[in-house]
């Protein structure tokens, strides 16, 4: 039995090796994506373009604007000469936050009377608008209370990621995404391709049993995805200096547990898709896309409406994100991660057995 499987594995590897584009996909794409996402995936809000309409032209108004600019969160993008100007800035996208300082602002502050300010934000990009508004409010509040010590002073420490860098959060996530993409799409494609070309019949008439066929088809992908995981880990270390705090061996082992379910899904797709085009569309639309969005890669699960949250418990990627980020950022071990690992195992075993059964029935 093993002889036959090994022959099949050898054939698969030969196919992978011969396919130049496949090689590029496996070796270059992961590294490229890590670099791209690591550099580009940054949701930190800083250098927000600020528009100012200063009707006061006094010392206080200048000082307030300076405080905005010195905070590092805002850069002066445009000076307005009228309120219409401010509206136009938003329309053209020149500024995202506008500050209007009324006439007599300095006089009112100096006389202790108190003054008012008009602050507006372009809500078209709601996430940055929310954060920019909270920065602006803090700046104004601290300006208003200058010279006055508060009753409390919060000392805030950000654990696991003291500089609050999005990159530390994204890069481990990309590892999970790449593994899923590769195993899901390529497994389904490799089987469907044999179907399309009619070579699957040739495999069926060989003495290969269907279980052997499946094992022989899947093992090369397991090995290649491990290589890919190692490549991604190395690239993340070299390019960004991001290295898992926890055990790498555990990380790789859990990668294997994770791809149980994605390989299973790939196999499943191959049983419903008639051609490669369908296989790709199914993999992407039915599995990859929803999983990426619903598993907390970018959008926090806690924020999803109550009827969507239960769905996310079915997604293996959800648990794997917790695992990768836990090992990378917090240095978690099995002691913290066992619930996720159990869930992954349960889902993986179910998915792969169901797909294998379906696949066998299709074959026989």
């Amino acid at each position: 039995m093993w002889n036959r499987i090994i022959t099949l594995i050898r054939k698969e590897f030969q196919q992978i090796r011969r396919d130049r584009r496949m090689r590029v996909m496996v070796l270059v794409a992961p590294v490229l994506q890590i670099i791209l996402l690591g550099y580009a995936a940054n949701m930190d809000v800083f250098q927000v373009p600020l528009g100012v309409y200063d009707l006061d032209h006094g010392t206080q108004s200048r000082e307030l604007v300076d405080q905005f600019l010195n905070s590092g969160y805002f850069v002066l993008a445009a000076q307005a000469r009228s309120f219409d100007d401010l509206d136009r800035f938003f329309m053209d996208g020149t500024t995202e936050v506008n500050l209007a300082i009324p006439r007599n602002f300095s006089r009112d502050i100096d006389s202790g009377k108190g003054a008012s300010l008009q602050l507006s934000a372009d809500g078209a990009v709601s996430s940055s608008a929310t954060i920019a508004l909270s920065y602006a409010s803090t700046i104004v509040a601290s300006y208003g209370s200058s010279g006055r010590a508060g009753a409390t002073a919060p000392e805030i420490r950000a654990w696991y990621n003291p500089e609050l860098k999005t990159r530390l959060f994204m890069v481990p996530g990309v590892l999970a995404l790449l593994l899923m993409m590769f195993t899901l799409i390529f497994t389904s494609l490799s089987v469907v391709k044999e179907k399309e070309m009619g070579t699957i019949e040739q495999l069926i008439v060989t003495p290969l049993k269907s279980t052997e066929l499946i094992i022989g088809k899947l093992i090369p992908f397991v090995l290649v995805s491990l290589v890919m995981a190692v490549l991604v880990i190395i690239a993340a270390t070299l390019v960004f200096g991001i290295f898992p705090r926890g055990s790498i061996v555990l990380l790789l082992l859990l990668c294997l547990v994770f791809i149980l379910s994605t390989l299973g899904l790939g196999l499943f797709v191959s049983t419903i898709a008639a051609n490669q085009q369908q296989a790709m569309f199914f993999s992407i639309f039915f599995f990859m896309f929803p999983m990426t969005i619903l598993s907390g890669f970018v959008f926090p699960i806690e924020n999803m409406p109550a009827w969507i949250q239960p769905i996310t418990y079915l997604l293996p990627l959800r648990y794997f994100f917790v695992i990768v980020r836990g090992i990378y950022l917090k240095g978690d071990g099995m002691r913290q991660l066992w619930p996720q690992v159990l869930a992954l195992l349960a889902i993986g075993i179910t998915v792969i057995s169901v797909s294998m059964l379906r696949f066998k029935k299709r074959l026989d």
């Binding site: 409010s137 803090t138 200058s146 919060p154 990621n161 609050l164 999005t166």
Partner: protein
């Protein structure tokens, strides 16, 4: 005249293929809708219900009042009481609490004496975005208490701040994300489908049959892409109607302008699809290349999720050569801001440039490979 007849024949054939292939039709029309609805509900970057665990070492009325300042606001929910530093570390490590508030002994006494008391917040920053927003709210809640209980100092003049949000007053994520979803779905429909349909003919050998027919390359390209252009326009209409039905997102600006720019974007995308199809020989490769070149960058590099201005210069340069980036800016401006052509003429010019360039290059490559 002959030419039109031939183009029409291809269009007819292509439509027949699309309609016969329920999978393709479903993926081009129905799935985008399902995705829009699902994502529209699921996607949210809003941070609410920040879980806070409290370690109150002071245990006075004032320290409890300080806590109430947090839990009375809708941003925070009380998670648990912490009794030891081990408790605290576990609450964060296991992700039960997003933040732990520690009130030191002597908190109330210090404030009564008119001094400044220090409180500590440990925030789980493994998700930096959530953490940044949470820190903003924590600071705000503290500041309110802090100013209310400050004494013994000259009272500074108050500044009355009136923050106002325009275009998306409730700051709902779904409003900002719908234009991005449209771009993503159209990219998939246009680039990927065009590349695949052209390569499929190559793979199945039916391309040769087409070459020996009197059809010229230009006619082939027109005939092959027009059906997808139409399907994509139907998709756009469906998405816009669904956005309105499910999320109440209406197009504030001109629909004519919206559709005209959409056609421009589709031309550019179809051109890219044709170009890809002329380079590769298998559907698998066509798909991978279009995914890497278009779908992924649309998600990451166009400002859909991550602001462009924060990207390093090199990445910004890459972002500048993506038609999707300009189309997204146009869509946001038309749909959310209701601006007219004067605010987006630059983007429209760039997009037209891309459309001409990509279609030209694509047709050129196709005709060269055939002769």
């Amino acid at each position: 005249m002959q030419r039109l007849v031939r183009i029409k024949a291809i269009i007819k054939k292509e439509f027949r293929q699309i309609s016969r292939d329920i999978g393709t039709l479903g993926t081009l029309v129905i799935l985008p809708l399902a995705l829009l609805v699902l994502f529209g509900y699921a996607i949210s970057l809003d941070v609410k219900e920040i879980r806070v665990a409290v370690w109150d070492l002071d245990g006075t009325d004032l320290s409890r009042e300080y806590q109430r300042g947090f839990f009375n606001s809708s941003y925070f929910t009380f998670q648990s009481v912490i009794r030891s530093s081990q408790d605290r570390d576990e609450a964060l490590a296991e992700g039960m609490a997003l933040a732990v508030l520690t009130i030191p002994p002597g908190f109330a006494r210090a404030i009564d004496r008119g001094e400044t008391a220090t409180v500590q917040f440990l925030v789980d920053a493994s998700n930096s975005t959530t953490a940044s927003t949470a820190i903003g709210y924590l600071n705000g809640a503290d500041l309110a208490f802090s100013l209310a209980h400050a004494r013994g100092h000259a009272v500074a003049p108050k500044i009355d701040l009136r923050p106002r949000v325009v275009f998306n007053q409730e700051l709902k994520s779904v409003n900002s994300l719908i234009p991005g979803l449209i771009v993503l779905i159209l990219t998939l429909a246009a680039v990927v489908s065009t590349a695949l349909t052209l390569v499929r003919e190559k793979e199945h050998g039916t391309r040769e049959q087409l070459s020996v027919s009197p059809i010229t390359p230009l006619e082939l390209v027109i005939g092959k892409t027009l059906p997808y252009l139409m399907v994509a326009l139907v998709s756009t209409t469906l998405i816009l109607s669904a956005s309105w039905l499910f999320f109440g997102v209406t197009v504030k600006g001109s629909l004519v302008l919206l559709y005209l720019t959409t056609i421009l974007f589709l031309f550019a995308s179809l051109g890219i699809g044709i170009l890809i199809s002329s380079i590769v020989s298998t559907q698998q490769a066509a798909f991978m290349i279009s995914a890497i070149l278009t779908v992924l960058p649309t998600f990451i590099l166009t400002g859909f999720v991550f602001p462009i201005r924060n990207m390093p210069p090199i990445i910004q340069v890459i972002s500048a050569v993506l038609p999707a980036r300009y189309y997204l800016a146009i869509l946001r401006t038309i749909i959310l801001k209701g601006a007219g052509i004067s605010s987006i003429y630059r983007e429209i010019l760039v997009l037209s440039g891309f459309a001409v360039l990509m279609l030209g290059l694509g047709t050129f490559r196709v005709s060269r490979t055939r002769s």
